[in-house]
């Protein structure tokens, strides 16, 4: 039985993803397309929100993946710090832009949804605020990666930033909840979708969630492969110089 850690070897990782990536990519496209088409065209309009509610099929999975991507980066950073597997650090690096885009999709679709529902593009609601803050954390993380030349130093520093950032991101989340309650008591805009969600919505929503998860996986695998190749190329150039 092969150990899980064997996939931390770049070569093994590349060989495995060689055949795995097309499968995951196909599955991602199929599942997401199914979920979205199902959600957009084969669900009834909500009696209160009309057809605008259907943006939920993009909004919720994107928001979910925005958070999950950070958690994945956190785990990958820990693996790098503890076990020093390069693939892990590179996977964290590859996940960050995907997470950032997911956060942006979540924010934009939220604004588009909020405009007809609440009559405003933006509200300083704790949940919205938290997502904006999450976006700042993604930006900082990506900026730090791009500022450092040496890949190992970059991996170390960003991993520590990810750990510290996670703690502060959670703190910020609670601070945002506290802050809004504290200032605007009573004036609440509830964003909680699916408080009474019917299975007619739930089933396509879950399909979309799985689809977005697969999209994330596809992009991270592809990104990690690119990063591995980039490092390999750097190493080859270095070899040339040494020889």
């Amino acid at each position: 039985m092969a150990s899980f850690w064997e996939y931390a070897n770049p070569l093994k990782f590349m060989r495995t993803t060689d055949w795995l990536l097309p499968i995951v990519a196909t599955a991602a496209v199929l599942v997401t397309a199914t979920g979205l088409i199902w959600g957009f065209f084969f669900t009834p309009d909500d009696f209160r929100q009309g057809s605008t509610v259907k943006i939920v099929f993009i909004h919720v999975p994107a928001a979910m993946m925005a958070i999950n991507a950070w958690v994945m980066m956190l785990v990958a950073s820990l693996v790098w710090l503890i076990r020093r597997h390069h693939v892990s650090a590179l996977a964290a690096k590859a996940a960050a832009p995907v997470g950032l885009v997911m956060t942006l999709i979540g924010l934009v679709t939220g604004a588009v949804w909020g405009q007809p529902m609440w009559g405003t593009w933006w509200a300083w609601d704790p949940r919205l605020t938290s997502f904006l803050i999450l976006m700042l954390f993604y930006l900082g993380y990506i900026a730090l990666w791009s500022a450092i030349d040496d890949p190992d130093t970059g991996a170390d520093l960003t991993a520590v930033l990810c750990l510290v950032g996670s703690v502060f991101a959670v703190l910020s989340r609670y601070a945002a909840i506290f802050w809004n309650q504290g200032l605007h008591q009573g004036a609440s805009l509830s964003v909680a979708p699916g408080t009474r969600m019917d299975w007619a919505y739930k089933a396509p929503l879950y399909t979309c969630m799985v689809g977005f998860g697969l999209i994330f996986l596809t992009l991270v695998l592809a990104g990690t492969r690119t990063e591995i190749r980039a490092r390999r190329m750097k190493a080859l150039v270095a070899r040339e110089r040494m020889a």
């Binding site: 070897n9 070569l11 270095a238 040494m242 020889a243």
Partner: protein, 207 residues
């Protein structure tokens, strides 16, 4: 007291630079590292000083024995010579700075702000810092840069006195310090070879 280095390999910027470096220095002895620019003298000294991890190999040295002096002297421009020196003395828990000032011929400059020193005078202050550390093992990277002939001789005397007092020194330098007893280690043969490529695959370290 012995500083033992066994089969040491070190890297700079992720590239292996030196491998199989072994030497040992005993009390009262000095080791001079030679080699062309970029052969890894600075990297080796930083590794010995503990600033960067070795790729492999061992460094056996009593704890808290090493005083490191790099290209940059760590001098604060707005502090006076005496203040700079007193700071490092306090950090190393020794309080005596007058001997060092005297030995490096800095007494007349003691109250001058370090920004008004010449390059050679700064270098002398940097070397005086070594004397106030009270550490037995001096790890020196190009200690004689920008020193004039008289100052080089002065520094040679200081090193000899340090060795006579039971200390030891590992230094990278191209100039003859007038230490005939110093052992000389040429680093050229220890240049790291390329790792085997195998079948063109890449392994964990990408090299």
């Amino acid at each position: 007291m012995v500083l033992n280095v066994r089969d040491l390999a070190c890297a700079r910027g992720g590239l292996p630079l030196l491998e199989g470096v072994s030497f040992s220095v005993t009390s009262g002895a000095a080791l001079v590292l030679r080699g062309p620019n970029g052969c890894g003298k600075t990297t080796l000294l930083r590794t010995i000083a503990g600033l960067q991890p070795a790729l492999s190999g061992e460094i056996d040295c009593p704890p808290d024995a090493i005083a490191y002096a790099a290209h940059a002297d760590g001098i604060k421009a707005t502090l006076t010579v005496a203040e700079n020196l007193r700071f490092w003395a306090a950090i190393y828990g020794t309080c005596e700075t007058s001997t060092a000032l005297e030995r490096m011929n800095l007494c007349a400059l003691a109250e001058r702000a370090a920004q008004n020193l010449s390059a050679g005078q700064k270098r002398r202050l940097g070397l005086a810092r070594l004397m106030v550390t009270g550490r037995p093992v001096w790890v020196l990277d190009e200690p004689t840069v920008s020193l004039d002939v008289a100052s080089v001789a002065l520094f040679g005397d200081v090193v000899r006195a340090h060795l006579a007092g039971g200390g030891m020194a590992v230094m990278a330098t191209h100039i003859d310090l007038g230490l005939p007893e110093a052992e000389i280690l040429d680093l050229t043969p220890f240049k790291a070879r390329l790792p085997e490529t195998g079948s063109g695959d890449f392994d964990e370290a990408f090299l």
